[in-house]
Symmetry: C2
Subunit: 142 residues, 2 copies
């Protein structure tokens, strides 16, 4: 039995060489809605843009600056590709303690994410090869 139940899948993170290239796919070809302008997340080294689907979002991220943590990903995957999956939790600090207590490596301290609430990432080597983001549920989001 797990110590916590998974929350909503908030978004799928897709790395793209440019937000414009990503919008051509997720807005123009797939018809997703964009209600918020792209914005910089300097603390995470990315520029981001959310595309809405009826039940969750796609987060397009392009490298911001030469030190961007996704620069290498784009070097290897020039067209872009799936980068991470983000699930919500009710309490970010309880979630961090819970994961660590079960031997899962949390990458750094919780920090403010794209939706204005605290987030952290889990080490892909402890999570079946996938980079998992954990986000405290944004207030009034649902």
């Amino acid at each position: 039995m797990s110590a916590q139940a998974i929350g909503r899948l908030n978004h799928v993170g897709i790395a793209v060489p440019s937000i414009e290239a990503g919008l051509k796919v997720y807005r123009d070809l797939l018809g997703g809605r964009v209600t918020r302008e792209p914005f910089d997340l300097p603390a995470q080294g990315v520029r981001a843009c959310f595309v809405d689907t009826p039940n969750c979002q796609v987060e397009l991220i392009e490298p911001l600056g030469a030190e961007s943590p996704i620069a290498k990903f784009i070097e290897k995957n020039a067209a872009g590709g799936q980068h991470h999956v983000c699930f919500e939790v009710a309490d970010i600090h309880a979630a961090k303690a819970d994961f660590e207590g079960r031997g899962v490596r949390v990458l750094g301290e919780p920090r403010i994410g794209a939706h204005g609430t605290l987030v952290f990432f889990l080490h892909p080597k402890d999570m079946g090869g996938t980079l998992i983001e954990i986000m405290e549920t944004p207030e009034g989001a649902h």
Copy 2:
């Protein structure tokens, strides 16, 4: 303006070396719910298991047989990783005609997918590097 609006994000497809390894992450560590036993999808060369989150699903897929289309993915990513993203559409044939009309390569003819409705995949090179599955909305699913 897009000819169609994106439907629900039905699931994120995660390739795993074994369903059991995937369940250790998505059921045991993240607390997702599994309400249906793993099952073989021989037409797609995978064994699959769905893990439920409150708003969509994670589809764990392990290679089924030596000719599995995901065998090479697991060779390159031994621990597994994000494999595809599946969006729903109301009419699979209209969606196919629409994508093809806009120059997006549809991989093969629509075929019965894991939820019993018709699905097809779009060429990652036409979709920003990500393998996108399009699924006709399962009846009574929502």
